[in-house]
Symmetry: C2
Subunit: 457 residues, 2 copies
């Protein structure tokens, strides 16, 4: 019997990261501040209406390393470390010289990377005396993660789920209920936003923007209720760096260092989570990272980083949020109904945006069919059926391997396999039935929505 090849690398408890990495400390200049409609920076006091103080401190922090509380590490330990996996069978299938690794975040209870931030958000809220959390959810990935996290700290969670998803996707709703959350079909009669929408149209199917309004309204109205968000904001990207930090230590154990780090990019938290810790090495002058490339992958139908403007814009359709300096397609851009629901966002995290703007991060847009083809190829080689969002990273990882072979280079590739696709089989079903389509670059729609960018200064 020959020796068994080890495909997966774990970490012992004493090898686990003790701090998150804050990329703000290594930016060439501080992030542009969030602005109010009056063009003035938003004060912490204003944000404190919906976020607890420890979260606000992280949101505005310039510290490079921020300790992960023991209580959070204990909950992380339910599924972390996520394995770093060598995709040997995929490499063999491609016949590539490249070494392909993936960090598998689908091992979490919710099946994705989202609990990495949900858990600390619930913890800090509990610490600050918050009595209830609110959030919105579309397909339910974030909603189920914060439901899980709230349950871990005994904190009630109220989720406003877009009505059309609530009715069409009962499984994520059942998950949230299993973890004890209250789930409402938005619009509801619980909030003024909901009542107004229902008065105008009793059959209103809801929207993510409307669900956000309901969740924020509840948080503003009750001093003991806070709001949570699953991507985009600085503190969310901070928490997600656990992904890349673990991966770095896992690579150290293998004596390997990646040449290119790839993540899918919607709001930016899964990309930032895996890529920022490697950019830290680059900023610190680590020679291994001198030529490191970080690639953010977005859908061609919603090409924020590759076709958007770098400008101040609202984070939501209705303009409730502060203005943030980011790549945006315009806050009223409505992307086509692709199946990677987590990547249908008009903007991108201000941190990812600034790094793209400064040339430290590359952005690539890929078409829907090519991502599902890559996902099926991956599933047939490696077993795991990936979430449609993850398929975006797989597509580019395969393309990177082929490009390296063509260039005669031996490339080490790392990508973030953000989740399994067990809740997305209806999308695979449509793919096999030939019912999925690519979308032409929506140039006119983008031009129209960019024309509505708010005027600042």
């Amino acid at each position: 019997m020959t020796a068994l090849t080890s495909l997966r690398t774990y970490l012992t408890p004493d090898e686990m990261p003790t701090h998150w990495y804050n990329v703000v400390a290594d930016l060439s200049h501080p992030p542009a501040p969030p602005l109010g409609r009056d063009g003035q920076p938003v004060s912490a006091a204003q944000m404190a209406a919906i976020f607890p103080l420890p979260i606000l401190e992280q949101e505005m922090s310039g510290e490079r390393w921020i300790p992960i509380p023991d209580e959070v590490r204990q909950i992380y330990a339910l599924w972390r470390p996520a394995p770093l996996v060598r995709a040997l069978r995929l490499e063999a299938l491609l016949g590539t010289r490249a070494k392909i690794f993936y960090k598998y975040e689908g091992v979490s209870p919710a099946g994705s990377h989202k609990p990495n931030s949900a858990v600390p958000q619930a913890f800090y809220n509990k610490l600050a005396g918050t009595k209830k959390l609110t959030t919105e959810t579309g397909a339910g990935q974030w909603g189920s993660s914060i439901a899980f996290a709230g349950q871990m700290f005994g904190l009630p969670v109220r989720v406003f789920m877009v009505k059309v998803s609530y009715e069409q996707k009962p499984f994520r709703r059942s998950m949230m209920q299993t973890w004890g959350a209250e789930v409402f079909s938005s619009p509801t009669v619980l909030t003024q936003s909901g009542r107004t929408a229902l008065a105008a149209d009793p059959d209103c199917q809801g929207s993510l923007g409307l669900a956000i309004s309901e969740a924020v309204e509840e948080a503003v109205a009750d001093k003991d209720t806070c709001y949570t968000l699953g991507s985009v904001l600085n503190h969310v990207l901070l928490h997600q760096t656990i992904v890349g930090l673990e991966a770095k230590t896992q690579f150290d154990k293998l004596g390997v260092y990646p040449d290119v780090v790839i993540g899918p990019c919607g709001g930016g938290s899964s990309f930032g989570g895996i890529a920022f810790p490697f950019l830290a090495d680059k900023a610190a002058g680590d020679k291994r990272a001198a030529n490191l490339r970080a690639v953010a992958v977005e859908p061609a139908s919603c090409p924020t980083l590759t076709k958007g403007s770098y400008a101040y814009d609202f984070g939501d359709v209705a303009g409730f949020t502060p203005l943030m300096k980011m790549f945006t397609l315009g806050h009223d851009f409505m992307p086509p109904g692709i199946h990677a629901g987590g990547l249908r966002y008009h903007g991108a995290s201000q941190l990812v945006s600034q790094l793209v703007h400064e040339g430290l991060v590359e952005a690539v847009a890929v078409q829907q069919l090519a991502t599902f083809e890559a996902g099926v190829q991956f599933a047939r080689a490696e077993g795991i059926i990936p979430a449609p969002e993850s398929c975006h990273a797989i597509r580019v990882a395969i393309d990177e391997a082929k490009a390296a072979d063509a260039a005669g280079e031996a490339r080490v590739i790392l990508f973030n396999l953000t989740g399994h696709g067990h809740f997305d089989m209806a999308s695979y079903d449509r793919f096999f039935a030939g019912k999925l389509e690519n979308f032409a670059y929506p140039a006119e729609a983008i031009a129209a929505s960019l024309a509505h960018l708010p005027k600042v200064g």
Copy 2:
């Protein structure tokens, strides 16, 4: 920062089991042979019409240790070792002195323990020159596992999926297609069995028995096609012992040994898989195992081991299979439509049956609502949402902890968490909606079907 408690134990590649354990070697007498309708033992030549030689050798082997081929170990390595997890948060919730551990099989690509046997079955078929595999599937757990395994060895797989499931549960079907299997809604026009059923009723919704007939018919008709089965048979239980063998080594690393080992029991492979390796210690006179208890948990609605007869019976409704000596409710017993689909089987593996008959294994029947209550309690403590089958083991693990506390004992409890419930959220949905019910012990139905037991000898 305090030291992190390690909740999960893994194994290094050189700690991984190299052999499966065959409990037949430790039985007090050899298993009763399978019989034909004529009451004569079935010959290997007869079975060779549908199974390849290496599988038949394992089915009939009396060897205690059977080597796991390198090729199988390499595929196992895609997700194995499965973690042994200390359920500290569940213990705290219960306030128990008991130590509760679970072996988490939901980490496989298919989300359950089924690939543990699907992979070697595909491998041995490939080795023997089989060109195509057939199987039947109801809810799709076995079908998806053999689809995955066939893809790993480049072996085409044809799955006959009961029509009503094919239409109501498209997600498992999409999984099988993702792994490249052909999936047909049974009855089909591809087989005589299917054509006969359709001629009698063009709207026939199919049944598991009919799907078995179609799969077996294709295997009999083509010498290059073989049939696969996901539970009940000796070789399937053999392969599943990887679960208990890993757990034993993981316990060794912790310096702990269980007092009671618990598995859900339908056909018997997940129970046998976790329990048999510990019974091996008992048979070998290991003092740690002197008082070890092994508990098989079945649904009260389908109480094979607790209310059935120990007798020769067919493995299927239609009487196609050989007669096997086992606990049975009668081959035409039709259990109520409970949500643990994997446990709705009228019989039980002859090996588990013999061990129950000889008093080496305990059997317990539990009601449906109590299993979901335990599953929700587990999810809220440990995060993972368990499959309904797994909830049966959780129910008894919790009851064992309470009983130990009541008796003033410090008990170490191990159970098989056979899979995650991400494909079973519709059942949780019905549970939360108050639509699930318990079933009274179906005494009259069982008496009626037991009256139809075949006469032997």
